[in-house]
Each structure stands twice: as structure tokens, then as C-alpha cells.
């Protein structure tokens, strides 16, 4: 009787210690799913999904509060990747949140700019330089094309300019064989 009790207590202690060790040593910080979703999102931080940035949207997707088709900059491919990751059904982009556009960067017409700094405050990635009553300009390399600076501009001097192809960014086309040629 006593030996049985001791054995059971011993097993309980050993297992308890093992579990306690595992709980400390293999602790998962945060939700890894959110990280994975966030790494698929394009990080434009544009808020078109209805959340204040890509990370909150990733949180919402992970908790099942948001759908996977609310990110226009990520486009169709982004939706497909999210569907793959989460094992959900693919669905086309929800047009309520906007449509997929060619990649562009903001451009400030420096003749019209009055230096109000409103766009600087709106820019989510600090890609606009300038100061009060000084002309502003966009750091094109850092601009994500989120369009958040367009609305606050009181003189409408910001426009979106599509990024052209250069020799460095040019891509080989998918080989298409003309039907006529093949016939």
C-alpha cells in the first residue's frame, strides 16, 4: 500500500517537474500564426482593410474577426497565400475595401505645397521629409504607396505615380506560345 503510494507520488513529481520545465523552456511568445500572416501581408500600412495597419489586420484574421480578402495591395496572390496558410477557401478580393492597383509612389508637386505638415503626420512609414512652412518631399524608396497622405493635403498637391519598369526590375514574361504558330 505504502510503496504503491510512494511510486505514484514519485511519478507525479517527476512528470510535474518535466511539465514545469517544458512550460518555461518551450514557452511560445505571442501567437506564431499572427507572425506568419503578417509576413504575407504587404506592409503598406494603408488601412484599407479597416484596421490601423497590417499587424492589427493579421491579429484580426488570426482571431477569425476579419476575412482574408480585405487587402487590396496584397492582391489576388496575397489572398491565395493566406488561404493556403489558413486552410481556408480562396475567395476573390472584397471590392468594398478597394481594388488592386499597379504599384505606385506618392509625388508632391513642390510648386503647390504650402508646408502644412499634415501629410507628414499621416505617413505611416515616415517617408515624407519637410517642416512647417517648408516644402515637403517624398522619399520615394521608402514610400509604400498607401495613399494615406492624399486625403489630408489641403491643396491637393500629392499625386500617385506608378513605378515604371527598369532594366533591373524587368521580368521575363511567362512563355506564351501563340495558337496560330502552333497550328
Amino acid at each position: 500500500m505504502l510503496s504503491a503510494l510512494l511510486v505514484m507520488t514519485g511519478i507525479a513529481l517527476v512528470l510535474g517537474a518535466a511539465l514545469g520545465f517544458a512550460a518555461i523552456h518551450f514557452k511560445v511568445e505571442g501567437d506564431p500564426l499572427v507572425e506568419k500572416i503578417d509576413s504575407i501581408l504587404p506592409q503598406t500600412q494603408c488601412g484599407q482593410c479597416g484596421f490601423p495597419g497590417c499587424r492589427p489586420y493579421a491579429d484580426a484574421i488570426a482571431q477569425g474577426e476579419a476575412d482574408i480578402n480585405q487587402c487590396p495591395p496584397g492582391g489576388d496572390e496575397g489572398v491565395r497565400k493566406l488561404a493556403d496558410l489558413l486552410g481556408r477557401e480562396y475567395k476573390p478580393l472584397n471590392e468594398e475595401h478597394g481594388v488592386e492597383k499597379p504599384k505606385s509612389v506618392a509625388f508632391i508637386d513642390e510648386q503647390t505645397c504650402i508646408g502644412c505638415t499634415l501629410c507628414i503626420q499621416a505617413c505611416p512609414v515616415d517617408a515624407i521629409v519637410g517642416a512647417a512652412k517648408q516644402m515637403h518631399t517624398i522619399v520615394a524608396a521608402e514610400c509604400t504607396g498607401c495613399e494615406l497622405c492624399l486625403a489630408p493635403c489641403p491643396v491637393d498637391c500629392i499625386s500617385m505615380q506608378p513605378i515604371g519598369e527598369t532594366v533591373e526590375t524587368w521580368k521575363w514574361r511567362y512563355p506564351v506560345i501563340k495558337i496560330k504558330q502552333a497550328a
Binding site: 515616415d126 526590375t169 521580368k171 521575363w172 512563355p175
Partner: protein, 556 residues
């Protein structure tokens, strides 16, 4: 002594078509009416233009400065006037334009002053910078800046220097003719490289279908009297001129996936590059011309020494271009690209202008389904599974394609050459590679944006806290001041903290009310932040205040 040679896997033996263009010596191509020199001619950053429209330039004058270390300078090929610096259609499969310097030659061909440097007295670092500014890039086709390849690895010293004279691609004979006619200069450049790299052994690999070049190089090496240098004839098999393949044949070293030949103490240069290095260092002549084979649909295929920037159509016309030409191919039939127009300029990467016609290169037969015959895998010199890569690339399954080592593909075209279904496999690989690169660029941009966004949020939070702290400090200061003003009362009730705080609050309100009243009555508020100003400025402020007071009185 007979050297033991090794074999690489796969390869093909296409018809070489090399005889017709080697019957005549290298000729100087005539000076064109207009030179279009693109600034972006090597791997790496686009050089910055150093000249403006209207400026006079001398032959060999730098017109584009290297942008960072992974870049290479560009020079004026002849003396003349810069007409414009503008985007011009580039010798590139994309058909896009890049910034180019348009030079109208004055016909004098006047050199800039040249001062060859003393190699033995110059440290290797300076020689490398010098080569970068002389615009020397790999002339085998990849146009990788040579100064970067002349850096010895920190972990492994370079033991073997390989000079690549294999020239395996059909039609192209520019390296062959260069070795036949200018072997001593090539050897001179080769010795410079050996000196910089500190290599014990130099091997010159030449395909055995070029016996004249082998003899000429052997004679030049013997004349130079250097030890540890041998000229080796290797079996003719495409693509023996690929760097990894040549290294395999000559040394038996198989450079594995993800590693570089320098990790194994081997570095490989083209013979044209050796010649360019000789010119750049021994004669102080930057890379402004190169040997170009003009072959295909021309009356007299021949090699020309061509100034960079010469329009290809002028060159082809000079070689007797015949009717029926439908396009120019830059490079050979296996790896070359069709040019988007006839008047694109010759660049540093142009080893051959292959004039194409429908009779010479009939349109490819229709592509049929892959029948899983495995011929491509037998032919692949990089030991890949081309059919797997084809399926994954076609299905846009890029992750899987990378798992099958898509980036080890050298795009030699052996798989397309042997494919019985006429599938243009390399086109699919190029498509997949550029898609993967684009995705990587996007990923980097997204990571940078995330970082900036997080930092901005952090900054805003910090600023909020700092502002709150500042306000709190200011309030405390005022409170302390008021407390000391009415010191007696406060000290009397010091024991009762809440009352003291209440009093301080009351005092604050009183002070604010007093200030508001003052303002309402129009009493001048004393100007602030005037402690450190010069007397002139103070006088100016006083004048402004006086004007303001006068204006106020007027309105009243």
C-alpha cells in the same frame, strides 16, 4: 607532361560554324556617326553621368563614375562632343531604355593623357580601385566587375588562376582571334592577375578546335618565361566555357551548390578580360572597345575591334549584311538574346552580333507536351533535373523550383537543344528566376516598411510620454514657484497635504485669471524668449510692440 583532364556531366555538341569568321584578321570597325554609350553596362549600380550635353570629351575620358563598389566606370570611346545624356534603347532583351551618353565623334580620336601605374609599387587595394575606375568588367558575357573578382578570399588563398579561352558557343570566335593575334598582351594581363591574387598556378583552357590559338598562347607563355603556367587544350563540348564546367575539366573540382570557386582556391577569368586588364594597367587605356564577332546572315563574317556604343546595324552593314535579316542576336545561338531593335549599341557584354534570318534560324517548331524522356537531364551540365524545373516553373510553383536548385541553372540551353518536344525550357527558367527575384525585392521592401512603421509607432508613443512628462514638470515648477511666493501661508498648513495642494491649485487658477485679465485689458504681455537676443533684435521687437500698441489704440 600530359595533364589529367576531367569531364563534366552532360553537354552537347552543336555545329560550331566557327571557320568562316576566322579566315581574316581582326579589323578596326569604322567610326560611326554617333556613339550611344549606355551608363549601365555591368552588374551592380548604374554609374552616375559625369558629363553634360555640349561638353567636349577626349578618348578615354571618364563619362560615368562607378556607383559604389559593386559597379564599374564608363569612358568615352573616342574624342568628340556630348550631344545628349538621355535614355536610349538598350542592348537588352527587355527592350527598355537606360540613361546613355550620346557622343558625336570629331574624327580626331584624341586620347586623354595617360600615365600607366607602377604595378609592383602599388598596393593591391589601389590596383582594384584603379581597375574599377578603368571600367574593366568580365568580357565573357556576365560583365561582372573584375576588381571584385581579384579579391582573395580571407579564409582560402587563391591557388589556381584559370584563364578561360574555351569559347564553346557556336559562331563566336572573338576570343579565338584575340588569342591568335594578341597572345603576348593576354599573357601580360594574366601575369598581373596572378600577381594580385598570388596564385601559384595559371591554367589557360582552350577548346581543341582552336589549334592556332593554343599554339599562339603556348608560344607567348614560353616567351614570357613564367613558371607554373600551362596552356591546356580541352575537348570540344558545349558548354566547356562555363566557369564551373571549365574548373571541373581542368582541376577536377566540382563547385557545389551555394559555394563559390574561390572557396576552393580557384578563380576564373576570360581571355578578353585578361587583355583588358593589360590595356588598363600597362597602357592606362580604359575599356572602350572590344572584339566582336559579326556572323550569320552577312557576306563576310569577321571579327572587328569595335568601340563601345557603336550601333549594331552599322557594324552589320560593314560586314556585308544580306537581305532577309529579321533580327540581331547578341551572343550565340544557344544563349544569345534577340535585340529589340537594329540600332542598339554594342556594349561591353557584346561578344557577338549574330545576324539572324528566317533561313538561318527558322522559327522554332511548335512546342509539344513533355514526354518525360529525360534527355534534358542527360544533357544538363549543372546536374539538374530540367524537366522538374520546367514543370514547377510552368505551374508557377517557385518554392519547389528553388528546392530543385533553379538558381544553379546557367541557362546554357542544352536542355532546350536536346528536347524532342521543342520546349523552350530556358524561357521558363528565366521567367521563374525573375519572378523569384521580384518577390524577394518585394519582401525586402515589406520588411523595411514594417520596421519603419513599428519605429514610427514607438516614436509617437515616446513623444506622447515626453510631452506628458514635460507638462507635469512645468506644472510642478509653477506650483513650487507659487508656493514659495506665498511661503508663509503654505508653511503654516504644511502638515495638511491635501489643503496645501488645493491652495496651490487655487493659486494657479488665480495666476491664470490674472494673466487673462491683463490680456483683456490690453496690457502688453511681456515678450518671451528674449534673453539671448542681440540688442538689434531687441530694438526690432520693441518697434514691433510699439506698432502693435498703436494699432490697438486706433481700433479702440
Amino acid at each position: 607532361m600530359l595533364r589529367k583532364l576531367f569531364k563534366f556531366h552532360g553537354g552537347v555538341k552543336p555545329e560550331t560554324h566557327k571557320d568562316s569568321s576566322t579566315t581574316q584578321a581582326i579589323a578596326k570597325a569604322p567610326l560611326p556617326a554617333l556613339l550611344k554609350v549606355p551608363l549601365h553596362q555591368s552588374i551592380g549600380g548604374t554609374p552616375r553621368p559625369l558629363v553634360r550635353a555640349g561638353e567636349k570629351v577626349l578618348k578615354g575620358q571618364r563619362i560615368g563614375g562607378a556607383d559604389g563598389n559593386v559597379s564599374s566606370a564608363v569612358h568615352a570611346p573616342t574624342s568628340g562632343t556630348v550631344i545628349a545624356v538621355e535614355p536610349v534603347l538598350m542592348a537588352h532583351a527587355s527592350g527598355l531604355s537606360t540613361l546613355s551618353v550620346m557622343i558625336e565623334p570629331d574624327g580626331e580620336d584624341r586620347w586623354i593623357e595617360r600615365h600607366p601605374i607602377d604595378l609592383r609599387a602599388t598596393p593591391a587595394d589601389e590596383i582594384r580601385d584603379y581597375l574599377r575606375d578603368q571600367g574593366v568588367v568580365g568580357l565573357g558575357g556576365a560583365v561582372f566587375p573584375s576588381h571584385l573578382k581579384l579579391k582573395t578570399s580571407r579564409t582560402k588563398p587563391t591557388r589556381t588562376l584559370i584563364i578561360n579561352g574555351a569559347e564553346c558557343e557556336p559562331f563566336i570566335t572573338c576570343d579565338d582571334m584575340l588569342m591568335r593575334e594578341r597572345a603576348p598582351q593576354i599573357v601580360s594581363g594574366m601575369l598581373i592577375m596572378q600577381h594580385i591574387l598570388g596564385a601559384e598556378e595559371v591554367l589557360v583552357g582552350i577548346e581543341d578546335n582552336k589549334p592556332a590559338a593554343v599554339e599562339s598562347m603556348k608560344a607567348a607563355v614560353a616567351a614570357a618565361g613564367v613558371e607554373g603556367c600551362s596552356v591546356v587544350a580541352i575537348p570540344t563540348r558545349y558548354p566547356a566555357g562555363g566557369a564551373k564546367q571549365l574548373i571541373r575539366v581542368l582541376t577536377g573540382i566540382e563547385v557545389p551548390h551555394g559555394a563559390r570557386s574561390t572557396d576552393y582556391g580557384v578563380q576564373c577569368f576570360n581571355v578578353g578580360t585578361a587583355y583588358a586588364i593589360h590595356e588598363a594597367l600597362d597602357l592606362d587605356q580604359p575599356l572602350i572597345s572590344r572584339i566582336v564577332t559579326v556572323a550569320g546572315n552577312v557576306g563576310q563574317p569577321r571579327n572587328y575591334e569595335v568601340l563601345i556604343g557603336t550601333p549594331m546595324n552599322e557594324l552589320a552593314a560593314h560586314a556585308g549584311e544580306q537581305a532577309g535579316t529579321d533580327a540581331y542576336i547578341m551572343g550565340g545561338p544557344m544563349m544569345g538574346f534577340r535585340m529589340p531593335a537594329f540600332d542598339v549599341p554594342v556594349v561591353k557584354a557584346t561578344n557577338c552580333v549574330l545576324v539572324s534570318s528566317p533561313s538561318l534560324f527558322p522559327p522554332a517548331p511548335p512546342e509539344m507536351n513533355c514526354i518525360r524522356c529525360g534527355e534534358c537531364a542527360k544533357a544538363c551540365p549543372a546536374d539538374l533535373q530540367p524537366f522538374e524545373l520546367y514543370w514547377f516553373s510552368r505551374a508557377r510553383n517557385f518554392g519547389k523550383a528553388q528546392e530543385y536548385h533553379l538558381f544553379d541553372c546557367i541557362e546554357c540551353g542544352c536542355c532546350s537543344y536536346v528536347c524532342p518536344s521543342h520546349i523552350r525550357l530556358v524561357d521558363y527558367y528565366r521567367f521563374a528566376k525573375s519572378e523569384i527575384w521580384a518577390r524577394e525585392r518585394d519582401k525586402e521592401a515589406a520588411d523595411a516598411a514594417r520596421e519603419r512603421f513599428d519605429f514610427r509607432n514607438l516614436r509617437q508613443e515616446r513623444e506622447k510620454q515626453e510631452k506628458a512628462a514635460r507638462l507635469a514638470a512645468k506644472a510642478a515648477e509653477t506650483r513650487a514657484k507659487l508656493a514659495s511666493d506665498s511661503g508663509g501661508e503654505a508653511s503654516q498648513e504644511a502638515g495638511e497635504a491635501p489643503t496645501a495642494a488645493e491652495q496651490a491649485k487655487k493659486a494657479l487658477i488665480a495666476a491664470a485669471l490674472k494673466k487673462a485679465k491683463q490680456q483683456k485689458e490690453g496690457a502688453p504681455v511681456p515678450p518671451r524668449n528674449t534673453e539671448n537676443l542681440s540688442p538689434d533684435t531687441l530694438a526690432e521687437i520693441d518697434a514691433v510692440e510699439a506698432r502693435r500698441a498703436a494699432a490697438r489704440q486706433e481700433t479702440e
